[in-house]
């Protein structure tokens, strides 16, 4: 049944994250809505893009003070939930796909056990049914020989396959919101595209929202309907096309990337002074 619900999956207003007594907030006054669409968050390391993703999942450590005027997931405030309620949401309704499958998969359990565990936890199936669900899901992420892969350990599979397994595990429960934090940075260019296409296809099929966090502004622009550009904890610009970029930081980021079609002798580097002036008038 298609979901005709028009309310945003996630609605964030004035999200602030501060670590310890640090006077500089890691994330300040970030506001955005995610519907049944794909939005991208781009920025350099330290810009607060991953912290935003983790704040939504409530995965930040205790010393991080997270405040927001509103952070609603399907209409209910995330910040008021208990740890137990969050545990029920994580993985089932909100999924997080991280950068490197080698660190997110348990090295001493087989792929089959781990994917079946996701089925057991979120779908309430047991034993053989859970394994069958795991096998189906692996076939869905276009793993050719799911029976063989089920019995392998994470070190025996390649990075691209590992990321497919992660996607299978995360999307098994058909989450309403998928947060993908640099899902392809650890992968080769040749498999990067396949993994992104697959993620895109499954998210569309489930009619979920996707937040794609990456430093690669071109890739994000190719995949997402809207792009939030973050710089030093703030959203400096929201774009739907790269050509519309007006903020000097976004323009600087685009110009800093070498483009084989328009070769230049020297690449432009970011002029951080003028960006500071622009962001803190």
């Amino acid at each position: 049944m298609p979901d005709l619900d028009e309310t945003p999956v996630l609605s964030v207003r004035d999200l602030n994250v501060r670590f310890g007594r640090n006077s500089i907030p890691a994330v300040s006054n970030v506001s955005f809505d995610v519907g049944r669409e794909r939005i991208g968050i781009v920025g350099e390391s330290g810009s607060g893009k991953s912290t935003t993703g983790r704040a939504i999942m409530r995965l930040l450590p205790q010393r991080a003070a997270v405040t927001a005027e509103r952070m609603d997931f399907l209409g209910s405030p995330l910040l008021e939930k208990t740890e137990r309620q969050m545990g029920g949401l994580r993985g089932k309704d909100i999924a997080l796909i991280m950068q490197d499958p080698r660190y997110s998969l348990n090295p001493v359990l087989t792929i089959g056990k781990q994917v079946a565990e996701a089925a057991k936890l979120h779908l309430g199936v047991r034993g053989k049914d859970a394994v069958a669900r795991a096998r189906d899901m692996l076939a869905r992420v276009r793993i050719n020989d799911p029976d063989r892969v089920l019995s392998l350990y994470p070190h025996q599979i390649s990075g691209g396959m590992g990321q497919r397994v992660m996607i299978a595990m995360m999307l098994l429960a058909r989450p309403k919101l998928v947060i993908a934090d640099e899902p392809t940075s650890a992968l080769d260019v040749s498999v990067r595209k396949d993994v992104l296409m697959l993620l895109d296809e499954l998210v569309r099929e489930n009619n979920s929202g996707l937040i794609l966090i990456s430093h690669d502004i071109r890739m994000v622009a190719a995949f997402c309907e809207r792009i939030l550009v973050m710089y030093s904890g703030r959203v400096v610009e929201t774009l739907s096309r790269l050509e519309d970029a007006a903020h000097p930081y976004t323009r600087g980021l685009i110009a800093a990337m070498p483009d084989p079609k328009h070769p230049v002798r020297r690449l432009k580097v970011l002029d951080r002074k003028s960006i500071e002036v622009e962001t803190n008038p």
């Binding site: 260019v189 595209k193 070498p258 079609k261």
Partner: protein
């Protein structure tokens, strides 16, 4: 400047052997930048490591500046080619100050204690001289990669071997490091071999690109080919399409 003929690298023995590089030959002239591109495991880094003298299991012939070099290098041969690795954090000793790390190549090549040249080496890569007293963890990723480049250049080698020098860096920092490399190439008339999986970086830096797959070169592209998007093999076509979404 660099001439490689029938380079073969095999790891392991008999039925467990893994033929990583299969008889590759290429030549790079002085001042030229050659790019090698391919996916992980195709053998591109192994070619570079063999050139740098870090690999012991190669056969074939390698010569720098017309003189053949063997598996065990003399000091003079080692001074000809220096390498910059992907992750600068892994290539700098965590408990040595930057100054110690920079002076070490000179010391180990028998050129005195090397301290006199540390400040100059830092300034050449755009870092303040007082960074010599810092530790690697006190520097950002881009600054660490600058130190790694300074360390490779401190022996004034005519050849620089670059193994994914910017893949651990942000695009904005990547631009700074690529500019630094281009400046140094111009100032010192350096010869580069740049290994990367990022075609846009390769086509920005290189005069010529070799596409590698399963230990052999399947395609050679000139600067003009890269700009026009011309390829001569199906694999390089695939790589091209995957790189530019």
């Amino acid at each position: 400047m660099i001439k490689v003929e029938n380079l073969d690298v095999v790891y392991g023995a008999k039925d467990k052997s893994n033929h990583v590089v299969r008889g590759v030959s290429f030549a790079v002239s002085r001042g030229e930048t050659l790019g090698i591109v391919g996916e992980s495991g195709c053998g591109k880094s192994t070619v570079l490591r063999s050139l740098a003298g870090l690999e012991g299991a190669w056969t074939g012939s390698i010569s720098f500046d017309g003189k053949p070099v063997g598996k065990v290098r003399t000091r003079e041969e080692l001074k000809l080619a220096q390498m910059v690795f992907q992750d600068p954090y892994g290539s700098l000793h965590p408990r040595h100050r930057i100054g110690t790390a920079l002076a070490e190549p000179i010391r180990s090549m028998g050129g005195g204690d090397g301290w006199a040249r540390v400040a100059e080496a830092l300034q050449q890569v755009g870092l303040p001289a007082h960074f010599a007293s810092r530790f690697p963890h006190e520097l950002s990723g881009g600054q660490r990669q600058r130190v790694a480049i300074a360390r490779a250049l401190i022996l004034s080698p005519p050849i620089l071997l670059l193994d994914e020098p910017t893949s651990a860096l942000d695009v904005s920092i990547q631009a700074e490091v690529l500019n630094l490399l281009a400046d140094q190439r111009e100032d010192r008339n350096l010869t580069f071999i740049l290994v990367s999986h990022d075609l846009s970086v390769i086509s920005h830096m290189c005069d010529r690109v070799l596409v590698m797959q399963n230990g052999v070169f399947v395609d050679e592209l000139s600067r003009e080919d890269l700009q026009a998007g011309v390829t001569h093999a199906s694999y390089s076509r695939e790589l091209f399409e995957a790189s530019f979404l």
